[in-house]
C-alpha cells in the first residue's frame, strides 16, 4: 500500500495551504505507515539528496521513442507546463487508458533502493523497457510522483521544519531534539526512522551532527532605543555559513543547508585535525585574498564548493579561510545556553591557544571574526555604509545576552546590510520561465547606454509582483521585434530599477562589468529610455566601491 499512500500524501500536501493542516496530514501519515516507508518519505520530502536518475530531456526523448510520439509535440506541451516530469505524466494518460494496478502496493524501498538503482547501469534499449514497465504497471495517479523522483525534481511545499514539527508532535518530544536528529545526512532505513522517533535521547548519536543554526533577523529600527553596550558588532561576511565540528578527533564541515562539505575543503579538515581540543564553532567560510587581507568574490567560493576533490594548485590559487564567530561546544560541553559574552570570551581564549600551539600554520586558515566598537548608533550607520571597503555586506549585530537557539528567533541577532547599488536599465530581451513560471515571459535582460547604444549588462528574473509579471508578459508579446528560440527581443521602451549587491570588472561580459544578485526593485514607468543609466555610471560605482 506504499506508493499509493505516498502519492496520496503528495496530492494532499500539494493542495493544502495551511501549515497546521499539513502537520496533521504528516503526523497521520507517519503513524499509519511502516518505519522503513516513513524513512523514505522523509528522505523524499526533505529533498536531501535529490538524486537525478534520469534527466528531464531523456525522459522526454525516451517517452517519444517508446510510444513513437513526436518530440516536437512534447516540447510544445513543455512550453505550457514547464516541467518535464509533469508533461510526461499528462501525456501518459493518452497512452495508457486502462487501470494499472499491478505496482500500486510496491514499497518506496523497493522502488528507490532497488529498482531505480538499476536504471543507471542499463543500456539505452533496456532503459526504454524498464521505463515502459514502470509506467505501464503503476497506477496513473502515481505517474507524476514517480517521474518527479526519477528526474530529481520531487518537491512539495514541506520544509524540514514542518517535518520536525510533525515528528515532535507524533512522539511528544522537544522540537530541538528532532531538529538535531534530522540535521545532516538522513539515510533511509528502518533504523534511521526508529532513531528519529526514539523517545529516549542518546548522546552519542549526536556526535557528527551540527546544531541547528541561529539565524539573524533583518535590522529593526527599534533596537537603537537600547544602549549600544548591549550589543556586539561584527562584519557580515559574504561567504557560506559553516559549523566546524571536531568531536572524538573527527572533523566535519557542515553548511547551513546541511551539506557535509569535507571533501571540498580537505586543507581545512587536515589543519583543524591537528587541534587537541574537541569543539563546535559557528563561522563563515570564504575564499581569501591574503595580500590585501580581503575576501574574494563569492563566485570563486562557489567554484571551490563544487569541486569535490580540489587539486593542490586549486587549493593554492583559491585559498580558503574560516572566520570563527561563535563557540557552541567545547570538549563535549554544550555552550549554547551560556550568553554570547561568555561564549565569545571562551572562543577567544581557545582560539588564541590553538594558534599559539599549532605547527601547521593554522593562522593561514583559521581567523577570529574581529569585533567592531561603534561608540553610538550614528557610528553604526557609518560602519555599515563603509562595509564594502572590507569586502563585506554590512554588519551583524548580536545581543550580548543572547543564548544560541535554533532558527530566526526575535531579539538575538540582526543583519544590517548595506543598501544595494542601483541602476535604471532598459528591458531588451525576455525569455520564458520554467516551473511555476512556465508559459510566461519572466526572465529578463537589461541594458545600459554606451555611445548611444544599448549594451546588455544584467539578467534578472525576480522582484516583480505577479500582477506586474502578467502585465509585462502581455506587453512583451505585443512588442516583440525578433525571436531567437525561446528568447524574444523587445522594443526598448520599458525602464526598470535594478538593484544588486556587488559590481566588478569582468572580461567575460560584453558590457565589461558583472553584478551580483541582480533583481528588479521598481518598474520605472515614469522614466523614458533616454533617462536610463549609462555604462559609465556603472563603472563609477566600481571606482567608488
Amino acid at each position: 500500500m506504499s506508493l499509493k499512500n505516498f502519492s496520496e500524501l503528495f496530492i494532499d500536501l500539494d493542495s493544502c495551504n495551511s501549515t497546521n493542516k499539513k502537520i496533521g496530514i504528516l503526523k497521520n501519515y507517519f503513524s499509519s505507515n511502516e518505519a522503513l516507508e516513513n524513512s523514505w518519505t522523509i528522505y523524499l520530502l526533505t529533498g536531501k539528496s535529490n538524486k537525478r536518475f534520469i534527466s528531464g530531456r531523456s525522459l522526454k526523448t525516451l517517452f517519444s521513442e517508446i510510444y513513437e510520439y513526436p518530440l516536437w509535440l512534447i516540447d510544445s506541451c513543455y512550453l505550457k507546463v514547464g516541467d518535464s516530469a509533469e508533461v510526461i505524466s499528462l501525456l501518459l494518460r493518452n497512452m495508457l487508458p486502462g487501470k494499472n494496478k499491478k505496482f500500486q502496493d510496491v514499497s518506496l524501498q523497493e522502488l528507490l533502493n532497488i529498482s531505480f538503482q538499476e536504471l543507471s547501469i542499463l543500456k539505452e534499449d533496456d532503459k526504454k523497457l524498464w521505463l515502459k514497465g514502470i509506467w505501464e504497471n503503476i497506477p496513473k495517479e502515481s505517474h507524476l510522483v514517480i517521474n518527479k523522483i526519477l528526474t530529481g525534481t520531487f518537491r512539495v511545499g514541506v520544509s524540514i521544519g514542518l517535518i520536525t514539527k510533525s515528528i515532535a508532535k507524533l512522539i511528544n518530544l522537544d522540537e530541538a531534539i528532532i531538529s538535531h536528529r534530522l540535521m545532516g545526512d538522513f539515510i533511509p532505513s528502518q533504523e534511521s526512522y526508529e532513531i528519529l522517533i526514539d523517545r529516549k535521547i542518546n548522546p552519542s548519536e549526536l556526535n557528527y551532527k551540527p546544531y541547528p543554526f541561529l539565524l539573524a533577523n533583518t535590522f529593526e529600527k527599534k533596537i537603537i532605543d537600547k544602549s549600544i553596550n548591549d550589543f556586539q558588532f561584527e562584519w557580515k561576511w559574504d561567504g557560506i555559513r559553516i559549523q566546524l565540528i571536531k568531536r572524538l578527533g573527527k572533523v566535519s564541515i557542515w553548511t547551513r543547508g546541511q551539506d557535509l562539505v569535507n571533501k571540498s575543503f580537505p586543507e581545512l579538515v587536515e589543519k583543524i585535525s591537528s587541534i587537541n581540543d574537541d569543539f563546535v564553532i559557528d563561522g563563515e567560510l570564504l575564499v581569501w585574498n591574503f595580500k590585501e587581507s580581503l575576501p574574494l568574490n563569492f563566485s570563486l567560493l562557489q567554484k571551490r564548493i563544487n569541486r569535490k576533490a580540489p587539486s593542490r594548485s586549486i587549493q593554492k590559487s583559491l585559498p580558503i579561510i574560516f572566520i570563527a564567530y561563535d563557540l557552541l561546544e567545547i570538549n563535549g560541553e554544550d555552550q549554547r545556553d551560556s550568553n554570547l559574552e561568555i561564549r565569545r570570551n571562551s572562543l577567544e581564549k581557545h582560539l588564541y591557544k590553538w594558534l599559539n600551539e599549532s605547527k601547521e600554520e593554522l593562522s593561514n586558515i583559521l581567523k577570529i571574526s574581529d569585533l567592531k566598537y561603534p561608540k553610538n548608533w550614528e557610528e553604526v550607520e557609518t560602519f555599515k555604509n563603509n562595509s564594502r571597503d572590507n569586502g563585506t555586506e554590512g554588519l551583524v549585530i548580536k545581543n550580548k545576552k543572547s543564548i544560541y537557539t535554533p532558527g530566526r528567533k526575535k531579539g538575538l541577532w540582526w543583519k544590517y546590510k548595506v543598501d544595494p547599488m542601483q541602476l535604471d536599465a532598459v528591458l531588451i530581451y525576455a525569455k520564458g520561465g520554467s516551473g511555476i513560471r512556465a508559459g510566461l515571459y519572466t526572465d529578463y535582460s537589461f541594458a545600459l547606454w554606451k555611445d548611444g547604444e544599448l549594451i546588455k549588462f544584467a539578467s534578472a528574473y525576480s522582484g516583480l509582483k505577479n500582477t506586474e509579471i502578467k502585465e509585462l508578459d502581455r506587453w512583451i508579446r505585443q512588442n516583440t521585434i525578433d525571436r531567437f528560440g525561446p528568447v524574444r527581443s523587445v522594443k526598448p521602451e520599458m525602464v526598470f530599477e535594478i538593484s544588486f549587491e556587488n559590481i566588478q570588472i569582468s572580461k567575460r561580459h560584453k558590457s565589461g562589468i558583472a553584478i551580483r544578485f541582480p533583481r528588479i526593485t521598481k518598474w520605472r514607468k515614469d522614466k523614458l529610455i533616454k533617462d536610463a543609466d549609462t555604462l559609465e555610471n556603472a563603472e563609477k560605482l566600481i571606482l567608488n566601491k
Binding site: 506541451c77 509533469e86 499528462l90 511555476i436 508559459g439
Partner: protein
C-alpha cells in the same frame, strides 16, 4: 485548393463572415446582422441591427444584458435561408443554447462548431455530430496534455474539499453562465450536505436555466446573507472577476478554489493564486478535438481561439486532412 476570396466563410478582424449571406458569426464589432453561437459575453457585441440565435441563447442573452434587442430565433436542426445560403443550428454541448452553425451552398458544407465539448453535461443538449466539407473550430485546449477527468470525480473532489474544512468558508470561483450550473448539477449528485450560496450573477443564471426547463438545485442568494458565521463550513460560488482582496475582505477564514480546464496543469494551478484547482471544462479536450474532426468527415479544417500551432502541425503530419490558415482581411 481554392483561393481565400472564394471561400464561403472568411476570417476577418471583426470575426467570421459569410459574405454571400451578409452575416457575421459572433462578431466583435457592431454589424448589420450577427449570428450568435452562445450567450457568453466574449461572443456577443451590443449594437448590431439584428441578431439570430437559438431560442435558449436569446432568452439568456436578454436576461444578461437586461435590454431588448432585435433577435430572431430558430430551433436546432431547423434550416433557414439567407440570400440562398442554407443555415441551421446544431447543439454544440458547450452551455445551454450553444450551437454549431452549418452553412450549405450548392452542396458545399461549412460547419462552425463555436465553443463545444464532447463530455456529458446534463444542463445542455449533447454535441451533435454534423458532417461537413469545411470545419471551423476552436482550439482553446489544443494540446495533448489536456485530457479531462470525469465531471463526477471533480464534483466529488469539491464535496470532499468543502466537507474536510468545516472550520472554513469555501469559495469556489467559476464562470457564472454554464460552468456554475453544470457544477451545481454535478455536486447535487454527490453526497454534498452543506449549504450553497450563489453570487447574484450566478443566481440569476440559475433561475434562467430553471425557466428553460433545466433542473438546478436550490441555492441561497449570497447578498441576503450578511452573517459570516452562517457561511462557515458552507460553499459560496462566485464569478472569477471577484477574486480580488477587496471583494473577499468581508469573509473570514476562507479557502478558495477555481474550476477550470486550465487547472488540470499543476504549474498553472500553483501560479493561479487559488488554494485549490478543480479541473473541469466546457471546452473539448485534445481527444475531443481530434474526435470531432474525424466525426465531421471534414477535408479542410481551420482553428481559431487559442494557440493552434501545435494542433495544425500535428494534423499536417498525420496528412489525412488539409489544414487551412486564413489570413486576416
Amino acid at each position: 485548393m481554392k483561393k481565400d476570396s472564394s471561400y464561403l466563410i472568411k476570417y476577418t478582424s471583426s470575426g467570421l463572415y459569410c459574405e454571400l449571406a451578409d452575416v457575421w458569426i459572433d462578431p466583435n464589432k457592431p454589424v448589420k446582422r450577427a449570428i450568435i453561437t452562445h450567450a457568453h459575453m466574449d461572443h456577443f457585441t451590443l449594437g448590431c441591427d439584428e441578431y439570430i440565435s437559438t431560442y435558449e441563447t436569446a432568452i439568456i442573452l436578454k436576461e444578461r444584458i437586461g435590454k431588448e434587442i432585435k433577435i430572431k430565433t430558430y430551433d436546432y436542426e431547423k434550416e433557414f435561408k439567407i440570400n440562398g445560403v442554407k443555415i441551421s443550428f446544431h447543439p454544440s454541448g458547450h452551455i445551454l443554447g450553444s450551437s454549431q452553425i452549418k452553412f450549405n451552398l450548392a452542396d458545399e458544407k461549412w460547419l462552425i462548431t463555436g465553443d463545444f465539448k464532447r463530455q456529458k453535461d446534463e444542463t445542455c443538449k449533447e454535441y451533435e455530430i454534423v458532417e461537413t466539407d469545411y470545419l471551423i473550430s476552436e482550439s482553446t485546449f489544443g494540446l495533448p496534455i489536456f485530457i479531462w477527468d470525469e465531471p463526477k470525480k471533480t464534483a466529488t473532489d469539491i464535496t470532499k474539499w468543502v466537507g474536510s474544512s468545516q472550520d472554513k468558508t469555501s469559495i469556489l470561483f467559476c464562470y457564472s453562465l454554464g460552468k456554475a450550473q453544470r457544477l451545481l448539477n454535478e455536486i447535487s449528485k454527490t453526497n454534498f450536505i452543506n449549504n450553497i450560496y450563489s453570487h447574484s450573477s450566478i443566481y440569476k443564471m440559475n433561475n434562467c436555466y430553471k425557466k428553460l426547463g433545466i433542473d438546478i438545485i436550490e441555492t441561497k442568494k449570497l447578498e441576503h446573507t450578511k452573517n459570516n458565521s452562517d457561511l462557515k463550513g458552507n460553499l459560496i460560488i462566485l464569478p472569477p472577476a471577484l477574486n480580488k482582496s477587496s471583494s473577499l475582505k468581508n469573509f473570514k477564514d476562507i479557502q478558495t478554489g477555481f474550476a477550470s480546464g486550465w487547472m488540470s496543469i499543476r504549474a498553472l494551478r500553483k501560479r493561479s493564486g487559488y488554494d485549490k484547482g478543480f479541473s473541469i471544462s466546457d471546452h473539448a479536450d485534445w481527444k475531443g478535438i481530434l474526435k470531432t474532426i474525424k466525426d465531421s468527415k471534414a477535408k479542410n479544417v481551420f482553428f481559431h481561439h487559442g494557440d493552434s500551432e501545435a494542433l495544425n502541425k500535428y494534423l499536417k503530419e498525420k496528412n489525412s486532412i488539409n489544414v487551412l490558415e486564413f489570413k486576416y482581411k
